[in-house]
């Protein structure tokens, strides 16, 4: 433990490790010193000069972002001197700013807007004509509105220091300075550039995909986990009209820092696509499949299961399913006397490592919960395109349960011989023609649950969207059946499903759903996970 230094900030005493900056120390007592150029994930040029605070005894105001705390230091972040500086700097920012908030995507979550509202002058004194840079396409997903830029150079530093692929620079100097790309190349072909839109404190860098899609204040924000690879980046789903409008990374130093990759950021159309299954479908005695309510569907299914009796189960699950769904499926398979449990998933050829934060990579495994599936006892089959590997299941004559795998590579005669074929998914599958039960389940964006990432970290996500029709979380369906068979209690929540998993699977023993919090918990160490 580093040696502690005690200082006073705005009359409040605080002890922080030696070397901490005043800005970070202030955070610890809940004081946010306004700042632009500083970002905890990058170098600090101390150039915006917005974060200046008064330090007793110092001849000038000090940049709190780079000034290390000293014993017995007395700091004022809201004194006349500090406020005057901020008022001054904010006025300077507006000398050339177009004040086009009404058409700016950042409006509502813009640091310039917020700071000026809170501490700026009620009107600027500049009457001079404004400098005009206009708009530039930076390539990739990024548009640059030069006139809104506050020249904090966060974007340049991100590309240089974090992605370590120099694509942006400051051109010219003085108040002619402007951010620009090199030649025509721009950001095209880089894999993390979406982050510069996030860290741009104003609306200078905006996402083409999100351009004019929604106002910040109309968005619901829900904590989630990126489902696009096994890294498990912490994210927020921003939704409106029951659609994901955009995805933003959420800070978790153990997993993704402040960042996420472009692939994950933009890979959400599959959640928004239409045509979801809405009603449970049950094949009647006449062989015709028709919609039913859950009570009837589950009653029928239970009868069917009992009728088949003794047959071993072959279950195919998607690694997009949560620990809770996979765990409950495993529990049901057990209750039915056991069987084979497999999963298929897409694997990319390469990892895409974020060089400046190397514990973060877009993993080869393009599913969020392969680790969970492995730990719970599912075995990987099929190739790197998640195709094949189901030959002996397609023609199996016992019980087939499909959870989430859309069987897109399978023929229409899949499961023709099965004594019982249950298909659970959010989309109908042509290969489920022979299913006796087609049960609509919710996606990760519509339910609560957890994923286990590549490093064995179990992290939970919350529902951001309303599931379509009667779709339910898979654990609810499977849990009800297992409870009937085991004469136990059905899980009432994802937390219940998780605790039942924790009691059955050693890797999760001792962890409760409540422990997961916003940072996640690593599974019991002895469980070594397969690479990626």
């Amino acid at each position: 433990m580093a040696e502690l230094v005690t200082l006073t900030i705005d009359g409040q005493e605080v002890a922080v490790p030696r070397g901490t900056t005043i800005l970070e120390a202030a955070k610890q007592i809940g004081k946010q010193v306004p700042h632009y150029c500083y970002h905890p994930g990058m170098s600090s040029p101390a150039m915006c000069r917005l974060c200046l605070v008064e330090v007793e005894g110092a001849p000038n105001s000090m940049p709190s972002c780079v000034t290390a705390v000293m014993e017995d230091q007395v700091v004022h972040t809201e004194s006349k001197q500090a406020l005057e500086n901020r008022r001054g700097v904010l006025e300077f920012y507006l000398v050339n700013h177009p004040l086009d908030c009404p058409i700016c995507d950042m409006s509502g979550e813009c640091d310039l807007q917020d700071y000026v509202h809170a501490e700026g002058r009620d009107r600027g004194r500049s009457d001079e004509p404004k400098r005009v840079f206009g708009r530039d396409d930076f390539g990739g997903d990024v548009l640059f509105y030069g006139d809104r830029c506050v020249m904090c150079t966060r974007c340049v530093r991100f590309m240089n220091e974090v992605e370590q692929d120099q694509r942006l620079t400051v051109v010219e100097r003085g108040n002619r300075s402007v951010i620009d790309t090199f030649f025509e190349e721009g950001l095209e072909g880089t894999h993390w550039h979406g982050n510069i839109v996030d860290i741009c404190p104003v609306g200078a860098l905006v996402s083409k995909e999100f351009l004019h899609k929604a106002r910040a204040w109309d968005l619901e924000r829900t904590s989630s986990i990126c489902p696009s690879c096994s890294q498990g980046c912490n994210i927020e789903l921003h939704t409106r009209d029951n659609l994901i409008q955009r995805i933003k990374p959420r800070e978790n130093l153990e997993v993704n820092g402040w960042w996420m990759c472009d692939f994950g950021r933009h890979n959400h159309e599959w959640v928004n696509r239409g045509g979801q299954l809405e009603d449970p479908l049950v094949r009647g005695p006449d062989g015709v499949i028709g919609a039913a309510g859950w009570r009837d569907a589950l009653g029928d299914l239970l009868q069917h299961v009992r009728g088949v009796g003794g047959a071993r189960v072959k279950a195919v699950a998607t690694p997009f399913a949560s620990n809770e769904n996979l765990g409950t499926l495993a529990e049901l398979v057990d209750a039915l006397g056991g069987g084979d449990m497999v999963y298929r998933s897409v694997r990319a050829e390469d990892e895409i490592v974020l060089k400046g934060f190397p514990t973060l990579a877009r993993r080869k495994d393009l599913a969020p919960n392969t680790s969970g599936a492995e730990l719970i006892g599912f075995t990987r089959v099929g190739d790197d395109q998640a195709a094949g590997g189901l030959e002996n299941i397609a023609t199996y004559d016992g019980i087939i349960i499909i959870m989430g795998d859309e069987l897109s590579d399978q023929e229409a005669n899949f499961g023709k011989e099965a004594a019982l074929f249950v298909y659970m998914g959010d989309q109908q599958s042509p290969a489920a023609e022979n299913a006796h039960f087609v049960l609509p389940v919710s996606t990760f964006a519509e339910e609560e649950g957890s994923f286990t990432n590549v490093a064995g970290r179990v992290q939970c996500f919350s529902p951001a969207l309303k599931a379509s029709g009667m779709a339910r979380p898979a654990w609810m369906i499977l849990g009800a059946l297992a409870a009937e068979l085991n004469k136990g209690d059905a899980p009432r929540s994802a937390a219940d499903a998780f605790s039942s998993l924790a009691s059955r699977v050693e890797a999760f023993a001792g962890i409760t759903y409540g422990d997961l919090g916003t940072r996640g918990v690593v599974v019991n160490e002895t469980y070594v996970l397969s690479e990626n």
């Binding site: 150039m47 000069r49 000398v95 108040n175």
Partner: protein, 430 residues
């Protein structure tokens, strides 16, 4: 070629050979006693060299006036990592033209000073960062460095003492801000020339991340003389706190503008009247900027009592800076002059700090509006208050340099502004 203007009142220590191209030749330089200071220094311990410079009281001639010997003593005593001596020859302050002359007429004097300084701070490499626009000077320096190598004064095993010091002359690319010490280091490293926050100070983390010391050309030019003759000798001129001689670059409305080497503490009015032959055309003195365009200007009254040493200038509310004395007579258009200076700084601001980037350009625009007769009295309040935000709030002092002429001119020459604002007769016609 005779040097344009000289005066009997001068004490020519470092400017002795101005106007004599012969001095550029290494043989002539040596014949006239050159490189003896280096020889003597190499016979001493590095710290003894530093002590001698400390004893002389020599202060940085680039503008800040920090004691040179003390600066050298900040360097680590071991040299596990490479040390660097950087010579700041990026002379760009409007009104300043002394380093150019020092390098142009007496390049070996500077090289000798650099070598002594490098030895004192245990540096194995010297970079002379020379302003890019000084084409002739760059050529002269390059030639002189070549000669110094050829004669064994630079490079490996200097004068058989086992000391190795290399010299590189680096040509800048034309940015004023590269004359700021950390901006210079960044530029030398191949980055954008942008100052950075201190700490860390150059003596701990300098160019290429190594301990470095950066000295002005004029400072280093004085060093061989101090080493050869002793620190006490240097103190025979100047004042207790500002010892020695200094080059004054006088420009503006005097009869004989030019470079004059005078003891520090010399009265400003004597410089104008007796050294420079008085104001042009028998006009009246109106204002003086005694230290280069970045220091506050003073009026005739203050000029009459100002002495040209670091302390004397502070007493009348200005600074000695690099002693570039800009003299204006009663026909000078103060607003225009200030606007031109601010234009310069707005153009040269590196653009990192908000106050400087936005403030300097805004200030320039307001001043231009006033100059064009479109100003208001509120503009003056805005200027005063807004430029105050630019003082002491930024990474380097370029921002303060904008505030200095603006604030001092509004304080001392408000009537000039008001005349433009209220219309009617315009003051000055230059």
């Amino acid at each position: 070629m005779a040097y344009p203007y000289v005066s009997d009142l001068e004490v020519r220590v470092i400017s002795k050979y101005f106007g004599d191209p012969g001095q550029r030749r290494i043989d002539t330089y040596v014949e006239r006693g050159g490189y003896k200071g280096l020889q003597k220094a190499l016979g001493l311990e590095p710290d003894a060299v530093t002590e001698e410079v400390k004893a002389s009281g020599l202060r940085g001639r680039g503008g800040a006036g920090f004691p040179t010997g003390v600066k050298w003593s900040f360097m680590p005593k071991e040299s596990i990592r490479p040390h660097y001596l950087l010579c700041n020859a990026d002379e760009s302050e409007p009104g300043t033209f002394k380093d150019r002359e020092l390098m142009r007429w007496d390049p070996h004097q500077l090289i000798e000073g650099c070598l002594i300084g490098a030895y004192a701070i245990r540096a194995q490499h010297i970079y002379i960062y020379c302003r890019g626009e000084f084409f002739e000077v760059n050529q002269i320096l390059a030639r002189a460095v070549e000669d110094a190598y050829a004669k064994g004064y630079a490079g490996e095993d200097i004068l058989g003492t086992g000391t190795t010091i290399d010299i590189t002359v680096h040509q800048g690319a034309g940015a004023y801000i590269c004359g700021e010490e950390t901006g210079l280091m960044r530029s030398l490293e191949g980055e954008r020339g942008e100052p950075r926050v201190k700490p860390p100070f150059p003596a701990a983390v300098g160019v290429f991340g190594m301990p470095s010391t950066i000295n002005n050309v004029e400072t280093l030019a004085a060093v061989p003389h101090i080493i050869l003759n002793g620190g006490e000798w240097y103190r025979q001129w100047g004042t207790e706190k500002s010892p020695g001689t200094k080059l004054f670059c006088v420009s503006g409305h005097v009869q004989k503008p030019g470079n004059y080497e005078l003891p520090l503490g010399f009265p400003l009015i004597d410089l104008i009247e007796h050294v420079c032959g008085g104001i042009r055309d028998g006009n009246e003195l109106k204002a003086v900027i005694p230290g280069g365009s970045s220091v506050p200007l003073i009026n005739a009254e203050d000029s009459s009592i100002c002495t040209l040493d670091y302390e004397g200038c502070v007493e009348v509310g200005t600074m000695l800076g690099c002693a570039s004395v800009i003299v204006m007579d009663h026909k000078a258009d103060i607003v225009k002059q200030v606007r031109r200076m601010v234009d310069f700084y707005a153009h040269e601001s590196c653009g990192q700090c908000t106050q400087c980037r936005e403030g300097s350009a805004w200030t320039a625009r307001i001043l231009r509006r006033i100059e064009e007769g479109q100003g208001t009295e509120e503009d003056l309040d805005t200027l005063m208050e807004m430029t105050q935000q630019m003082v002491g709030t930024t990474i380097c002092v370029l921002s303060d340099s904008v505030a200095a002429p603006v604030q001092s001119s509004i304080k001392k020459f408000k009537d000039d502004y008001l005349a433009l604002i209220r219309g009617g007769e315009r003051v000055g016609a230059a």
